[in-house]
Subunit: 137 residues, 2 copies
Amino acid sequence: MNLVQVIKALSDETRLRILNLLRQGELCVCEIETILGITQSNASRHLNRLTYARILEFYKKAQYVYYKLNEDTLKRYSFIKEILDNELIREELYRADLEKLRRYRESKLSCDDLRRNKVCFDEENQNLFIEQDNAYN
Amino acid sequence: MNLVQVIKALSDETRLRILNLLRQGELCVCEIETILGITQSNASRHLNRLTYARILEFYKKAQYVYYKLNEDTLKRYSFIKEILDNELIREELYRADLEKLRRYRESKLSCDDLRRNKVCFDEENQNLFIEQDNAYN
DNA sequence: ATAATATATGAGTATAAACGAATATAATCA
DNA sequence: TGATTATATTCGTTTATACTCATATATTAT
């Protein structure tokens, strides 16, 4: 892994959004999907790319895969830390994502709830809302 | 210009090589081409891209266009400075380019000489060599 | 064992990026 | 003025990237 490859791994908005979330602590794939409003396969692919560049690492627990920042890599490439700590916060998009994450955590809902109850984020007011299970789900 | 766009501008090896050279001071396009061994149109395009991202700026003097780092942008995005100051030097490719630049400057040849005499860099020993003008050039 | 769920991956498509060759433009020199 | 030179740009091609939909895999729950 050389410098250009690391920078390329950072040069995508969705991947920066993922790193922005994971800066607050580990998350499983379905949490990332839901908070960012992206498809499952898209989330998986971006997570894979960041892992390949060693910017992320993961561990499996039950049926979930938890991703988190690879601290060794952040130490080695201090400019990544600089971006995460000082640049992301300057743009509204990333601040809004953090707000969604905060509300999700505040709700005390689990990843299971997210899927079972089809929890979504209302794009207008950023609030969590829950569609209860019904026969057609 | 937002964060992703700046990072994308940095996510190419040739552009990093250009920035690496310009860290040592301004250069005109033909000097960059020759030292990096890339085509004129390629050099021009990458310089344009870096200028569009405000990482570079330029001024014209006679028939030449001189490019240099935009210090305001480097102050604003300190991670760029971090990359230029601490990361490039770690990889052989960029160190070799700096050595070519040093030899070029040591030779006291001008940009005019570079072109008129078809100065090239021998890729094996990194030395400058000069093909004298002749009727077939 | 079977069904359900979380995640990864394959296939196809659309878009972006990088490049070389040729041409256009603008400045200089003879 | 006409030729030369430095740089930018256009065009066509190739490769890389991002995305969706569908399917595969693996784990859990019943």
